[in-house]
Symmetry: C2
Subunit: 428 residues, 2 copies
Amino acid sequence: MNIPQSSYPRVVIIGGGFAGIALAKKLSRKEFQVVLLDKHNYHTFQPLLYQVSTGGLEPDSIAYPIRKVLQGYSNFHFRLAEVAKVDTDNNLVETNIGTLKFNYLVVAVGSETNFFGNTNLEENCMAMKSIPQSLNLRSLILENFEQALLTDDYHEREALMNFVIVGGGPTGVELAGALAEIKKGILPKDYPDLDTRVAQINLVQGGERILPAMSEKASKKAEDFLENLGVHVWKGMRVQNYDGKVATTNTDIEFKTQTLIWAAGVKAVRLNGLDAKDVLCRGERLKVNEFHQVNGFENIFAIGDVAQMESEEWPKGHPMMAQPALQQGSNLGDNLVRLSEGKSLKPFQYKDKGSMATIGRNKAVADLPSFKFQGVFAWFVWMFVHLYFLIGFRNRVVVFINWVYNYIKFDREARLIIRPFKKTYQTD
Amino acid sequence: MNIPQSSYPRVVIIGGGFAGIALAKKLSRKEFQVVLLDKHNYHTFQPLLYQVSTGGLEPDSIAYPIRKVLQGYSNFHFRLAEVAKVDTDNNLVETNIGTLKFNYLVVAVGSETNFFGNTNLEENCMAMKSIPQSLNLRSLILENFEQALLTDDYHEREALMNFVIVGGGPTGVELAGALAEIKKGILPKDYPDLDTRVAQINLVQGGERILPAMSEKASKKAEDFLENLGVHVWKGMRVQNYDGKVATTNTDIEFKTQTLIWAAGVKAVRLNGLDAKDVLCRGERLKVNEFHQVNGFENIFAIGDVAQMESEEWPKGHPMMAQPALQQGSNLGDNLVRLSEGKSLKPFQYKDKGSMATIGRNKAVADLPSFKFQGVFAWFVWMFVHLYFLIGFRNRVVVFINWVYNYIKFDREARLIIRPFKKTYQTD
């Protein structure tokens, strides 16, 4: 892997998401050699992936080159690599580009879509956890409309324009809102030959309310917003199977659809060698103590979505979101520095800054610790917070310009099929 | 194909490039039914593809949804389709989505990279004529640097960082300049572990000067600019073969390189059914008269790169560039309207507005009809002209912002491997 020798202890971070980057920043100019491994050469701002899928933002605006984040840091090394295994006995990480010895290992590999073992769902559903997946979804949506134009069969056309989103968390809710706005504002203009009223957006939620992690008022209001936009919200319903054409549910309702987006759950990305019974929790997360140490190890840490730190307040660990990841990365960074200075470790304290979701133009819901509100003001706060946390000045400016443009023009211009998803459209 | 019946005569346009779009705009609200076919759902601003390849611009900023261009036009229909054949006897276009009858057919399919029949070159070289190709090149460049980090073999590392661009026209020159700036400004910061001085940029030109279509002064100045940036300019040299590792030339010089970009020529895209001897010219262009009518046909026209209109001033037809395409599309639009009004056709008169090329920061060469100049002012004019011709207000703003940012920060941030090109890096 050609990592130079160093007199400092080596910290290997696997994953350049919110947690890994926050940690890396803390270790700048400290007495460590830091090696960051990721299978992509960019950091992804996942909360805005749904806007890539719906043509509102370019993928490049919400991704940021990891090398650029680390520019100018000394003793920092990035390698584009996939980790095959962790050898905990010998403190080694085995990857597709070689094996690396570590003094400290930080697992920050994040989460992936959870199909709960149903291979039919996994094969036929669209996921939206990475930039390539989001671009695939963008292509599929557009390809389906192109195809809907061509068919004389009403039922086929209906299935091509029927969108089923499974999962009523922030991702599902935000995507449903964006699709509803496309249906209303863009489709009739783009497809004058097509009766776009046929297009339907269904949001299927297993529990009794959408946005279950938020306040009841936020759930209720989000549901109102969605229904005003024409989204069908199905509560207490679970999609059980999908063969690429028909989705069956736990009720007698079936959906004939060519686009099923699975946003119904995530699980931690699994790492070979770190999968012993006393380490793995529900959802394949790694059990860590309050110092982020993986159960049974002193020099192996886990942060972000992959880590489950159980406490009285959070018996199932912290939510798998950006905030805990950022805070954990930062705390672990401080702790590693304290360790090198011979000081004692600081237990992690999660500061819940609340959560929010946007449903569409001028509509959002926000639960802050001291203040819960919905509507236009929440929507402004949502935009401000997302711009603030986006990495890179250029990205912020470009995203902001796009939002202003989309708002004024009721438009989303990035509706390009650059990487065709359906085989019938693959010409490049 | 589900195109509605119309009492107006049907104009089928194949290709949504500069020529096809310019024509379509002219036919808005006139007494025609217009069907535009393209294998992509977007128009590509080809002059800026090299900036996509070098991470300076997002692909979405230089592409524009064709449906958006045509929004609000009546009697307009876009179909995402690949044309298989033109049946000139029966006035039919056969495509992968069905067959379409036409009253008038306009061929505006543009050009593609010309490897002059050398399949080795075609298999192993990178082309840069479409957005997917430009993204592949962007990925390859970045992947090669990641790989260069990993090898202990000096010669392999050298080959991974050796760039050979074949063709000294505007595309080759602009790409060479951009790569030279990346080498100087970005690589040393992104790859502190790598001796990036090893990276070389070679521009190989068959003729005795680069930019042969421009003035001698422009050629000379462009060459000076490139050499000041550290580009090796090889004149009177032709690459004869490339097996993916070594490029051989007509001299005893060989290039060991993992990246050979072929910008040495284009040929018209060929259309089955329009390939008779009396129709095809050199470079597979279609011979047209001064009214854009393809030789031997009254109702079949060709415009843009694919058309060869020979005249005293332009014995080999007009240059295969945006300007002739735009002007031909516009003139044919006027002529079709005149035809429908029973008026006589207007012969095409090409107004040469000159040409220009940018070499890098503050450096460009411009040959306008009345004024030839080089340097900073040419560079400003180049930027202004490209922004002016870009389609879409949002695209213009986003491109402008990117340019300002890149200029101030000496940066190009879109260096993301989103669609991996090398098999070793394909994880999605």
